[in-house]
């Protein structure tokens, strides 16, 4: 059910685009209005989410320290895992955001010498995560070509790198395949590992199906059902210059692709996908570890009722005196 529902939803999107474009001739709706709306929702939604998080203060310095603290001068501090300066934190966050440092730590119990349990490293999830995110990023960047005239120089570089295999016409880009494989791996993993399957929600399968759909339709267009790339560019340029035009001859597959992407954009701010922004705001990673050296201020710190020394001495004065413990009031 958790898997079926999002799957049906994605199929419904396909049908919607098919019916809308070939049956209803709603090209303008699917080619212009929906993409605009999606991008609008995306931008406003993400800003709203981040602002909402940022509005909640960080009352305490709750760094998760994963390495040696800064203490005595002759003990080597682990600056990346237990930062004590902004530079260290930047380093730590960069490791986290660009290299998925924490995921890299992943462990798995294993049997060694057939009798001893050891916790060995397990990098598959990390590898799939890296492959997925980076190939997605590159695929996304490659699409800039459609929105810019002339094509920015770095895109040529990117495409040379991406297509270094030098096969096929149009040139074969690895990232598309890597993206599809990685996202398929992440999906299969969710199904086959019992624990992960148990914790998965529809909200976990839906984006996976969506992205599988995006990658599949994209690759279909590029390699198999040759799409009128000039038409696509015309539409894209129209969109960015706020002069939308609907070129003739764009196939249904293109509109399906576009609807998938629009859905992903619009869905983004309401889903777990906001982890992209959230990771930057995660207090266990972006704070310093030297909370004894510098005081962290809690904006809502308020006075509390305490049991004072005077009250304490009232309770125990006689006993303290008997035990020859000094008191304030004789």
């Amino acid at each position: 059910m958790k898997i079926l529902f999002p799957f049906v939803a994605v199929i419904a999107l396909v049908l919607l685009a098919m019916v809308g474009v070939s049956g209803g001739s709603l090209h303008f709706l699917f080619g212009v209005i929906i993409p605009y709306a999606a991008v609008f929702i995306f931008i406003i939604g993400v800003i709203y989410r981040v602002l909402k998080w940022a509005k909640s203060p960080v009352p305490f310095c709750i760094t998760t320290t994963c390495g040696q603290q800064k203490s005595l001068p002759w003990i080597k501090q682990n600056k990346l895992e237990n930062p004590s300066s902004t530079l260290h934190v930047v380093g730590r966050m960069a490791m986290e955001v660009f290299l998925f440092r924490s995921l890299f730590r992943n462990l798995k119990g294993e049997m060694k010498d057939s009798s001893r349990l050891v916790y060995g490293s397990d990098k598959w999830l990390w590898l799939a995560g890296i492959a997925f995110h980076y190939s997605f990023l590159i695929v996304l960047l490659r699409h800039i070509r459609l929105f810019a005239e002339p094509t920015p120089f770095f895109l040529h570089l990117l495409e040379t790198f991406d297509g270094f295999l030098q096969i096929g016409v149009p040139r074969f880009f690895m990232t598309g395949v890597v993206l599809l494989s990685a996202v398929t791996f992440l999906f299969l993993r969710r199904i086959y590992i019992p624990q992960v399957r148990y914790i998965s929600l529809s909200a976990d399968y839906f984006p996976l199906f969506l992205i599988i759909g995006i990658a599949t339709t994209g690759m279909l267009m590029r390699y198999f059902l040759k799409t009128d790339i000039v038409g696509v560019k015309e539409l894209a340029m129209g969109l960015v210059s706020f002069n939308p035009v609907i070129p003739k001859g764009l196939g249904v597959i293109f509109y399906i692709h576009l609807l998938f992407v629009s859905t992903l954009f619009a869905y983004f701010p309401f889903s777990k996908l906001v982890h992209m922004g959230g990771v930057f705001l995660s207090p266990t990673r972006n704070l310093l570890g030297n909370s004894r050296e510098f005081r962290h201020v809690n904006p809502w710190n308020y006075p509390v009722k305490v049991h004072t020394y005077e009250e304490y001495e009232e309770d125990f004065r006689d006993k303290m005196k008997m035990a020859e413990i000094p008191v304030e009031k004789e």
């Binding site: 309401f270 909370s291 050296e293």
Partner: protein, 543 residues
């Protein structure tokens, strides 16, 4: 013949319900030995906790207050606005499962709701229902669910099966910290008067009497005097510590567990001997006689109320700085919370070792230094005369406490000390120590007796690693810097790895410490014969 091929006999049938259902549709089953008893009303009254009422975890009806649901929803709302951590952690989990098999309770019980991610989802599902658009519209499909009494019971049951050890947080790609979520979840249960006796008792004690155990001032003194008697027997030296003395240079604060019960008292004896040998100008306090903070397991506010005593007492006594003993969660609180709550401690000076002159700049603001930092510095400067041979009967391994590891990052100081006072030191396997250390299984106020089975299960991953070094190297002493470890790992070792004792590091230091004017030592702090001094009769069998 055929009957032997029959399926297992009736006897072997286990009447477990096997939940093939989704976790949301699998109602919680509250099991004996997995939870602690509810608190006594008078303990809650002492500190003014709300909604005090009679209830039992196994009962159908928990006698919740009329507006319990509203209380919880408002409680969540308030905390979303107060804690960015909570707010972000409610939103960004992608359920990748990296944390799942990192939790000692999950490893020890196999109960899927003990996976950190699912423990968080128990609360997250409620958050989605009441605070997100998707959850409000799509309900269960969006992973949202109504807050019902069953859901509340489930949250209660599993949030008191989490020791806030933060191991999951180390492995989470977004740093989601279940400890933080558990703290909030526990605050919510606290709003409804669903507190544990084992937590509320120490909190009330600490509030009124200054320490968890409820030791009154004269009792603290007489307990320490018992220790002094033993030290005199051992060394021939009579030590005279002071209590509540104004004008001392240093205030010493340690968990009250060290003043009471075995093997904590040996650690306290260690402090006494070390400070005496150094001629340290320090004082104990009977008012601020607790370093630990069980309030931390109830609510942020209660933790602050208890913690306030340390600075208040330092100010009253006019000391220059504060030295802290060996304790785990105490140091999480001191390192990450105390200054924020009750600081700035501008009436104190930056800690400076009167013996070596070292200024502890890392405690520049909080003005509180850890005994292991202090001792490591002494050893580094050659200020202690040590005879590590006196610990030769011990093969030692070191258990990193969760809080000093993942909430502070103190790894090298205690190791440096141990290596200088013991000749035989062996590390446990790499992925079970330092920031990846396993919890003792009994932290955050779960160290009661009635939940011994839970503790043994949660303690199993740690014990398993100890067993490895026990079998490989004959390790017979598990050193640590935490009072709860000292109390609870003793039980865990006794059950899982008999033959391994538990000791605070200061005990090992004092064993090795050659004191001025001491008589020839024949016993260690436990009044057991020292290895080289023992007669021929002493065999190797107690290893």
């Amino acid at each position: 013949m055929a009957k032997f091929t029959a399926k297992p006999a009736e006897l072997l049938k286990i009447d477990f319900k096997t939940p093939k259902t989704d976790w949301m549709d699998t109602p919680v089953e509250i099991r004996e030995h997995m939870y602690c008893h509810p608190s006594k009303a008078k303990d809650l009254e002492t500190v003014g906790f709300p909604n005090i009422h009679e209830w039992k975890p196994v009962d159908e009806n928990w006698n919740l207050p009329e507006n319990w649901k509203e209380t919880v929803i408002n409680g969540i709302k308030e905390r979303l606005q107060k804690y960015r951590s909570f707010h972000v952690f409610m939103d960004i989990c992608v359920r990748c499962g990296a944390c799942a098999d990192k939790c000692h309770f999950y490893l020890g019980t196999g109960d899927p709701k003990n996976m950190p991610v699912l423990r968080a989802e128990l609360l997250r599902s409620v958050y989605r229902k009441y605070f997100t658009t998707g959850g409000k519209i799509f309900g269960k499909t969006a992973g949202a669910r109504e807050l019902t009494e069953d859901v509340l019971k489930e949250i209660w049951y599993y949030y008191y099966q989490c020791t806030e050890c933060r191991r999951c947080s180390v492995f989470c790609p977004y740093g989601i910290d279940q400890a933080e979520i558990t703290m909030i979840g526990r605050e919510l249960t606290n709003l409804l008067g669903l507190q544990l006796g084992w937590i509320a008792g120490p909190v009330a004690n600490c509030y009124m009497k200054g320490n968890h155990l409820g030791l009154e001032p004269h009792t603290i003194k007489s307990n320490i005097e018992f220790m002094l008697d033993d030290i005199e027997t051992l060394t021939g030296i009579r030590i005279n510590p002071t209590f509540n003395r104004k004008g001392a240079e240093i205030l010493f604060v340690t968990p009250s567990g060290d003043l009471f019960g075995v093997p904590g008292v040996y650690t306290a004896m260690g402090y006494l001997m070390l400070f005496h040998e150094l001629g340290l100008d320090y004082t104990w306090s009977t008012y601020a006689s607790e370093g630990g903070n069980f309030g931390f397991f109830t609510s942020n506010e209660m933790a602050k109320r208890l913690n306030s005593k340390i600075y208040a007492e330092a100010k009253r006594l006019g000391v220059k700085w504060i030295l802290g003993g060996e304790c785990g969660h105490m140091w999480r609180v001191l390192h990450q919370y105390m200054d924020t709550w009750n600081g700035p401690a501008d009436f104190l000076e930056v800690p400076k070792s009167p013996i070596t002159g070292t200024v502890f700049d890392n405690a520049k603001s909080t003005k509180m230094t850890h005994i292991s930092e202090f001792t490591a510095d002494l050893i580094r400067h050659g200020k202690l005369k040590l005879d590590p041979g006196r610990n030769d009967h011990l093969k030692v391994t070191f258990h990193d406490s969760c809080n000093t590891s993942r909430g502070m990052g103190m790894f090298e100081e205690p190791r440096y000390v141990i290596k200088n006072v013991c000749n035989h030191f062996y590390e446990m396997p790499e992925n079970t120590i330092r920031e990846k250390t396993f919890c003792c299984g009994s932290g955050t106020g779960l160290n009661a007796s009635e939940n011994m089975e839970l503790r043994m299960r949660g303690g199993f991953p740690r014990a398993n690693a100890v067993r490895y070094v026990h079998e490989q190297h004959g390790v017979n002493m598990l050193a640590n810097i935490c009072a709860i470890d000292r109390a609870t790992l003793s039980a865990s070792m006794d059950y899982w790895v008999p033959g391994v004792g538990v000791a605070g590091i200061s005990e090992l230091v004092a064993n090795a410490l050659v004191m001025k004017g001491e008589k020839e030592r024949t016993q260690d702090l436990r009044l057991e014969p020292l290895p080289q001094k023992s007669g021929e009769k002493e065999g190797a069998e107690n290893v």
